[in-house]
Subunit: 385 residues, 2 copies
């Protein structure tokens, strides 16, 4: 990719994301939905203006880390701990219910045991970035609902790690090494706890560092580097890097420079985040949607059924917040989008030839539908309440 092509891609992404985001806001929807649709529009199966390249993917991944870093930075960790039990219950139901329903439905439709396990596993995913972004837009990030959704989604990522280890074990050797699974999960959990506890304890050192830097841009670089570093560590432990960045945000939220950092990270996030959402939209394969093509029918039927149980399973998860007096519908809806996490599961299934093209296509449809429907429903649920 030469500079010319790169600049053109960025210009296309920003112009289309802004136009579609603005239109979405004008008709009462969230800007994120507009950005996703901008991606669908200019992506490979739309106008074909945007070609995903390594550089754009990397920038998008940094974007989603910055999004979660910013959200961590605005959050108070105690608010998360206060709703911890509810978040854990929501996460647990949000994994068990979609898995059981997806597994059962797949078996009913005559798929093999293996395929059913994979499909069930895919439905357990939650894309925290999307819900977080919409909640932030609606100003609902700091409500009990917001904290439960974010907390549950982060826990879901840790549970997803366990599921992915199991699923990859099944795919490669047909066996599951429970020791490996336990070790990976334990390590990830230990990282998260250590990062936050040690981080909060030593956050003042980062503050002092920022104070002492005399050259320009000290605060933004120290904060960004810290977020990238925890994201990197998370990635090495096979947790989503955005969980590490989120932890970095929670830590710096308690530093003296919180407002200062927030103001400076915001424009940087504004530059990177749209790339992520547009690429997610561009990954939607429209050709699987075409009902005029008879070959798509089995895929569409499977997708329809799976979408239904995918939605029911996560809405049921919302009921897990019975301890709090909150809008449980909103919580369920916030857990809906499968986003990039669902794509990773499905990708493993396809590359190990456990799922065929049609089944893979059906999962892509489920991911697309739950991801596009969530901003719409989330806005509506909160407006009603």
């Amino acid at each position: 990719m030469d500079l010319s092509a790169f600049l053109l891609s960025l210009i296309t992404i920003y112009v289309c994301a802004r136009i579609m985001g603005e239109l979405a806001v004008r008709i009462g929807q969230s800007a994120v939905l507009g950005e996703l649709l901008a991606g669908v529009l200019i992506g490979g199966s739309g106008l074909g203006w945007l070609h995903e390249t390594e550089t754009l993917t990397l920038l998008g991944q940094v974007g989603v880390m910055l999004l979660l870093f910013e959200i961590g930075l605005e959050s108070d960790i105690h608010s998360f701990l206060r709703v911890g039990r509810s978040a854990a219950t929501v996460a647990a139901i949000g994994v068990v219910a979609p898995f059981a329903l997806g597994y059962g439905l797949a078996l009913m439709l005559g798929l093999s045991q293996f395929q059913a396990i994979f499909i069930g596993a895919t439905l357990t995913a939650t894309s925290v970035a999307l819900s977080a972004s919409v909640l932030s837009e609606l100003g609902k990030l700091k409500t009990a609902e917001g904290h439960i959704i974010l907390g549950a989604a982060v826990l879901d990522d840790l549970l997803g790690l366990v599921i992915l280890s199991v699923v990859i074990g099944l795919a490669t050797s047909g066996l599951v090494s429970w020791m490996t699974v336990g070790w990976t999960a334990g390590l990830a959990m230990a990282f998260l706890v250590t990062a936050i506890v040690a981080g909060i304890r030593y956050a003042h050192l980062l503050s002092r560092l920022i104070d002492r830097l005399s050259s320009r841009g000290g605060a933004v670089i120290v904060a960004l580097t810290f977020a990238l570093f925890l994201g990197y560590l998370a990635d090495r432990l096979q947790i989503a890097p955005l969980v590490g960045a989120f932890a970095a945000g929670l830590v710096l939220a308690r530093s003296d420079h919180q407002t200062h950092i927030q103001e400076r990270i915001r424009p940087v996030a504004d530059v990177f985040v749209p790339i992520f959402f547009v690429l997610i939209g561009a990954a939607v394969e429209l050709r699987h949607f075409n009902p005029l093509n008879e070959q798509n029918w089995p895929t569409l039927w499977l997708a329809g059924g799976l979408t239904l149980v995918a939605i029911i399973g996560k809405l049921a998860a919302g009921l897990g917040a019975w301890r709090e007096s909150v809008n449980r519908w909103a919580i369920g809806v916030g857990m809906l989008p499968r986003g990039e996490v669902g794509l990773i599961f499905a990708g493993v299934g396809l590359s190990h030839r456990i799922l065929d093209e049609g089944q893979y296509g059906a999962i892509l449809l489920v991911v697309a539908l739950t991801t596009l429907i969530a901003p719409l429903l989330l806005k509506r649920t909160f407006r009603k309440a």
Copy 2:
């Protein structure tokens, strides 16, 4: 490049650039010198921690565009026009003198006519990013000296375009098509004038657009996209994209949102710019410097002689500002660094087999020395005055 490697590269760049930048400031040097040296230290011929990849190169190029955009944004176009004649004289001498001296020296040392032309052409380059960044740090950007240096460097880039066309013509066919050369140069000049004139006339439309955008991050995205767009157009016309970005900055400097945009672009620039300087430093090949290796001696002699005439030629250029009562030494020093522009010329010479490895190495040395010496001298010259 996977996410893990990318994050690690960014972390390494930021940590080393900040440490070295800070050390440079502490011993009274400019932060940019520290960042360049950080690049030398962690680059391929240093510790080898940093490997240049396509993604990093692209981010660095966006970084240098943002740097010039920001500088344009802080500038008043009238200050440039006021010193226009001096800047033009400085640019003209800054091209003719180093070319003549380099050409003559190369012939004297027994190089061929062709090789001498190439070497002369390389010495004409000026890397505006480096001087601009140092001037900004010293708070000297808005002085007459600052305006003359920037103006002359931009004109030098346009002259460089003519020289590059001539030189590529010589390299490929041995002939120069003066029509092509004239056309390219005319187009570039027309672009610059049109972009600024039309831009200033219609800048209020961009302001209105920013006012009307209701979703988050409007100002930073509109400004950035405009800078990327003019940079893209410049690139298509074979002018350096940073000239386009600089023009975009000059235009938006006259909009109502100037301060607003400036505040928001600053952290974004802080994130991208260090990548550029570190990569420039990392391109320095230390092995050519080693005087213990006898094979390096011809290269070192050639490099020494060329560095001398490279410096004399550009210092002479400073005398071109005789109309103004300014520090002419400072202007000459500001024109010294060859930076990435010199590397492009030398690269063409090597790839067309006009220069051999040793001669190419000598030019890399000249580029490295003039680039590293400029921040040092610039600071000293201004302190004296």
